[in-house]
C-alpha cells in the first residue's frame, strides 16, 4: 500500500544475474521519517537491493518506488531526492572541508546562495569553523565520518541511504554519529541504513533481516526479540543467518 506517508515501497522486487537470484522477491515499505535498518550477512543481497532502490541497477521484476518515483522509469527523479553515504570514505582528502561541501552541493545543482548559507550553518553545527579551510586529510576519522554524513544530507533529500556508515569507527564516535541520524530523522529525512553492528540495529525503528536474497524477518527490534524469544538482536540475527545456504562474499 502506498500512502502519502510512504517513503520507500517494494513489492516482489527481484534481481537476477543469469541463474543467480541475488534479490528474491522482497516486499517492504518504509514510512517517512523512519529509521529503517536493513540487515543481512555478507552476500545476502543487501547491496544489490540498495542499488536498485538508488536507481543504479534496473530490477529484473517486481515493483518499487522511492520518494514516490518508480525505480524503472524515474531514476533521475529518484537520484535528485536521495542522499547516499557508502562504507568507503567518500570525501576528497586533498580538498578542504569547504571545497568538499561546495562540490557535493554543486553536483546536486544547488545555488551559490543556498550553499553559502547552509555551509555556515553546518560548520557551526559540527564545530568545524576553525577547520573549514583545512584539508580533509588532516581531520580525525570520526569528524570525517560526521562530515560525510552531513554532506550526504546537505541537499536536503527525502531519503538517505547509509551503507555501513560506521565501519571502523570507535564506539564513542558511533554514538555521536547515531545522534546525528536521530536529528536528521526528526527533521523528516527517512533513514535507510545497513549495518553489521547489532547494537545499532537496536537504535532503528524497524529492522529487516535478509537471508539468501529474501527478507526473513521484518519488525521493530523489540517485537523481533519477542518473536524469536531471545534477549538481543545479536541472537535474532544469528538464528536467522545460520539458516543461510549462500556463503558470504
Amino acid at each position: 500500500m502506498i500512502t502519502d506517508n510512504t517513503a520507500i515501497y517494494a513489492e516482489s522486487l527481484t534481481k537476477r544475474f543469469g541463474d543467480f537470484t541475488a534479490v528474491d522477491a522482497i516486499s517492504f515499505d518504509v514510512k517517512k521519517g523512519e529509521i529503517f535498518g536493513f540487515l543481512g550477512a555478507n552476500g545476502a543481497g543487501k547491496t544489490t537491493a540498495m542499488r536498485m532502490l538508488c536507481g543504479l541497477s534496473i530490477p529484473t521484476s517486481g515493483k518499487a518506488s522511492v520518494a514516490g518515483f518508480d525505480v524503472y522509469k524515474q531514476t533521475e527523479q529518484i537520484k535528485r531526492n536521495i542522499g547516499y553515504m557508502s562504507q568507503k570514505f567518500s570525501l576528497y582528502e586533498d580538498l578542504t572541508v569547504r571545497e568538499n561541501i561546495r562540490f557535493y552541493a554543486g553536483i546536486y545543482g544547488k545555488s551559490d546562495a543556498f550553499i553559502k548559507e547552509k555551509t555556515a550553518f553546518l560548520l557551526r553545527e559540527l564545530h568545524l569553523e576553525a577547520e573549514e579551510n583545512k584539508l580533509v586529510r588532516s581531520l580525525p576519522l570520526g569528524w570525517k565520518q560526521k562530515l560525510a554524513f552531513s554532506v550526504a544530507i546537505f541537499h536536503e533529500p527525502e531519503i538517505v541511504f547509509l551503507d555501513e556508515p560506521t565501519g571502523g569507527v570507535d564506539p564513542v564516535t558511533r554514538r555521536e554519529f547515531w545522534n546525528m541520524i536521530y536529528k536528521a530523522a526528526e527533521s523528516g529525512i527517512t533513514i535507510f541504513v545497513t549495518t553489521h553492528y547489532m547494537d545499532e540495529a537496536e537504535y532503528c525503528n524497524r529492522v529487516s533481516i535478509m537471508v539468501d536474497g529474501r527478507i526473513d524477518a521484518l519488525d521493530t527490534p523489540g517485537q523481533l526479540k519477542k518473536t524469536f524469544n531471545v534477549s538481543s538482536m545479536d541472537e535474532v540475527f544469528l538464528k536467522l543467518a545460520r539458516q543461510a545456504k549462500r556463503s558470504g562474499d
Binding site: S57, S90, Y92, I107, Y108
Partner: protein, 368 residues
Amino acid sequence: MKQFTSFVRKEFHHILRDKRTLFILLGMPIMQILIFGFALTNEVKNSQIAIFDQSNDLSTQALSSELDASRYFDIVQYIHSYNEIEAAFKKGDIKMAVVFPANFANDLDHFNTAQVQLIADASDPNVANTLTNYATAIILDYQDRITNNRRLPYTINTEMRMLYNPQLKGAYSFVPGVMAMVLMLVCTLMTAITIVREKELGTMEIMLVSPMQPFKIVAAKAVPYLLLSIVNITSILLLSVFVLDVPINGSLLLLIFESILFTLTCLAFGLLISTRTDSQQTAMFIALTGMFLPTIMLSGFMFPIENMPLPLRIISNVVPAKWFYYIVKEVMIKGLGITSVWKETLILFGMLLLLLGLSIRNFKIRLA
C-alpha cells in the same frame, strides 16, 4: 551547468594541489624538447677522427685539412702505424680513421686514380654510415675541384637537395614526436588514472547516485586535461620555433586543430581504460604498454616504419600517434594544408569515435 562547473572546479583543485604531478606535467614537454634538442641528437657534429697519412704529400695534407675544416670532423690524432688505429678505436678516442696509402699523390698524378681507406667504428652502425658518407662527400668534392681543368670523358654529377629540412636537423622529426608523446602521456595516462582513482576511493559511486549524468562526469574530467594539453602544445611550439629554430611552415590553426583532435583521441582511450580497470596500477600499466610504448616504437618517430617487418607495419596503423606524427610533419615541416592530410585526419577522427563509442558502451554495461 552548475553541476558541470562545480565538477571542473573540483578537478582543478585536485590538479593544482598536487604540485609535484603538475610540475611534471607542465615541465615534461619542456625538458623533453630541450633534451632532444641539445643532448640526444642523431646529427653528426665534430666527430673525432684520426689520420694515418703514409704519403704525406700536398694532396693528402689538403684533403686532411678539408676534413678538419668541415663541421662534421675534428682531427684529434695523427697515427703512424696500423696497430695504433686499432688501439685508438679501442680506447674510444676516435669514431673514424682515414688512411692514405704511401703513394697517394704519385698514383693520383700518374695513374689518375688513388685510394683512400675509411675505417669506422660500426658498433653504432648508423653513426658509422653517416660518417663514411660525409667523408666520401668531402673527398669527392675535393676530386671535383682538382679535375676541374681536365675534362673527363663521362661524368654524372649528383646534386642533392634536402627538401623541407636543408640542414638535416634532427629537431624537424623529434618535435612532432615529442608532441605525440607528451599529449599521449598527459591525456591517456592522466584521464585513466583520475577516473580509476575515483573508483578506488568510492567517490565514483556517490557520483553515480547523484543526479549528475555519467557523460557529464566524464566530460568534466576531460576538460582540465584538455586545457593542460593546450598549454603543453603551446610550450612545445614556442620552444621549437624560438629555441630550436624549427619553423611552422603550415597553418598554425590547422596544427592546433589536429593536436586537439589527437588529444581527444587520447582522452577517449584513457576513458576506455578507466572503464575496464579498477585499480590505478592496472590503469597505468595498460596506458603505458598499450599506448606509450607503441607511440614511441611504432609511430615512425624513433624507428622508420618502412624498414619494419610486415606484421609490425600493419600493427602500426592502429597506433593513433603514427597518424598524428605524420600529420604534424606534413603541416608543420612541409607546410601542407588540409587537402594533403584529410585522409589521416579522418582516420584519427574515426579512431576517436570508435574509442568514445566503446567507452560509453562499457560505462553503461557497468551501470546495468
